[in-house]
Symmetry: C2
Subunit: 316 residues, 2 copies
């Protein structure tokens, strides 16, 4: 039996759906019945329910966006650092293996190959991105699980949100037996304020950058498959292979959904950060070789995007 924490959130709801589809028995306690953020309540709950595996899909992302985390620092730390630590300690005490949804947003930029040498470009501005992409998109490489996060409290500047996610990883890694699943900008066919395809359609102006993305159901399937296959515990980047620019995704939206509106882009980074954003944004490319080498299949990001758009279900 599986225990799912944070089952009502955007990712938690997908875990509920996939666990049901697969016929895997699980319980997803509500905080009203069990305050699992308290160590002693969680420990008592786990002693009683004796799960084979636990999934932490809870986290604090900020509403309407990551800027809100700058103002709600206690809640951001509680949700993304202290709560995972509490889960890690309870599971380590009882010997329960578990998985934690982390985030690729603890990285910024990509590894870029120029003149045969690979270097990290931490701050890929819209302008730099265009120039590099025109040369050769194949020269962009993602961050892997051996790379140290470069957008974190230890490698400032970073957003407060990213800082707490990186510290969460650092604090649970190797404490007992766990998977750290790195999600990156979730999307699928269901219109939702958390869905990247919804966000792009609703922004007054779009900020162009290159990112790896995670199809929501693909992500959850991969996480469960890692446990099902008893892959070694540790960190896994769980994104669809490849990367896309916001501009490319907008072009797909225009081609498939044929929206009536037109899309504008911020003129440059200066304008975006002056007008639309308070805290630095992570944009990054992830390497998923480790996930694929563990025998998990993930379709390319373009394929997952196209399918989501072809099956698009707008909010009523």
């Amino acid at each position: 039996m599986i225990v799912l924490l944070g089952g009502t959130g955007y990712m938690g709801r997908q875990f509920v759906a996939t666990l049901r589809e697969r016929g895997l028995p699980f319980v997803a306690p509500s905080r009203a019945e069990t305050d699992y953020t308290r160590f002693d309540s969680l420990l008592e709950f786990l002693r009683r329910t004796k799960p084979d595996f636990l999934i932490n899909a809870a986290g604090y992302t900020g509403k309407p966006n990551v800027d809100a985390c700058e103002q709600h620092r206690a809640d951001t730390l509680q949700g993304n650092t202290l709560f995972p630590v509490t889960v890690a300690h309870a599971c380590a005490t009882l010997g329960i293996p578990w998985g934690h949804i982390s985030s690729g947003c603890i990285f910024s930029g990509a590894k870029v190959e120029t003149d045969g040498r690979v270097r990290v470009e931490r701050d890929l501005t819209q302008a730099a991105l265009q120039s590099l992409l025109q040369k050769n998109p194949g020269l962009f490489h993602g961050f892997n699980e051996e790379d140290e996060p470069n957008f974190s409290f230890r490698r400032p500047p970073c957003s407060f949100y990213s800082g707490t996610k990186a510290l969460g990883e650092e604090s649970v890694k190797g404490v007992g037996q766990n998977y750290i699943w790195r999600l990156r900008i979730p999307f699928d066919q269901l219109d939702d304020p958390r869905n990247y395809l919804s966000k792009l359609q609703n922004y007054p102006k779009v900020y162009d950058n290159a990112n790896s993305l995670s199809h929501r159901a693909d992500f959850v399937a991969a996480c469960l498959d890692l446990w099902h296959r008893r892959a070694p515990f540790g960190i896994y980047n769980v994104t669809n292979p490849g990367f896309v620019t916001s501009r490319q995704v907008i072009e797909m939206i225009q081609a498939i959904l044929k929206p009536r509106r037109s899309f504008e882009f911020w003129a440059n980074d200066e304008e975006f950060y002056r007008v639309a954003a308070k805290t630095p944004r992570s944009n990054c490319i992830m390497d998923v070789s480790k996930l694929l080498a563990a025998g998990i299949s993930m379709r390319p990001v373009e394929e997952a995007l196209e399918e989501s758009l072809h099956q698009w279900k707008p909010l009523p």
Copy 2:
């Protein structure tokens, strides 16, 4: 037997001295032999040593001062929030009572009585302080253990250090059985970079404000006495009763130590924060009624200051 964590720090060394004086058996593991910041190592260590009581005297204060914590956010969180949480979880798992050194710096200002009404003055500038003190110093009241911290991530602005200390308290309070001992600006007769009397003598200019203070050995004696008397677990302000202004302490230094140098004060808050400080400072008055009501005797702050200055031992 007592386990002491952080035994090499400024407060930890005083715990070592007082425990020895009192003939109380203790072990103070070094991080080189036992990495007690890791939950599983700590748990194993405590299972093996089976202490009756544990003292957490570890923390991250920033060098040379609290401004450094703004740049070292991961270490500040690790030392002041995550580590106490780790101790709380390990002690709760094994049923070990313990005590944690917290700080009064999660408060700012004082409760000031004017026209028969008490209100919180959060930002006591030098100028406001002078004007209020001239009226009647007896109208200043301290914060008690029922008051919510007002200089914390939940009540910004605050320093990053204070934010992590307040979140540390919040995260360990009521998890198992523990004392939260609030220290406030330690001092004694031994010249030391952490000693308030040394700091005042070494600042190029002094920032005048009103504070409660903790004599180092008085603080440690009170903490141990609370446990010795089996006082109820919970939060205790552990400062010497009363408060002093920096200007008053400078006058005592001049009268007793007769230093050759003269002392200057910052002209006003604006100058202090522009030139000398990066992050807001907590200055506050604490109420110690709860400690005294628990039967712990603490001499008035003026008496402890005078004795320390009369026995002053400058660094060679």
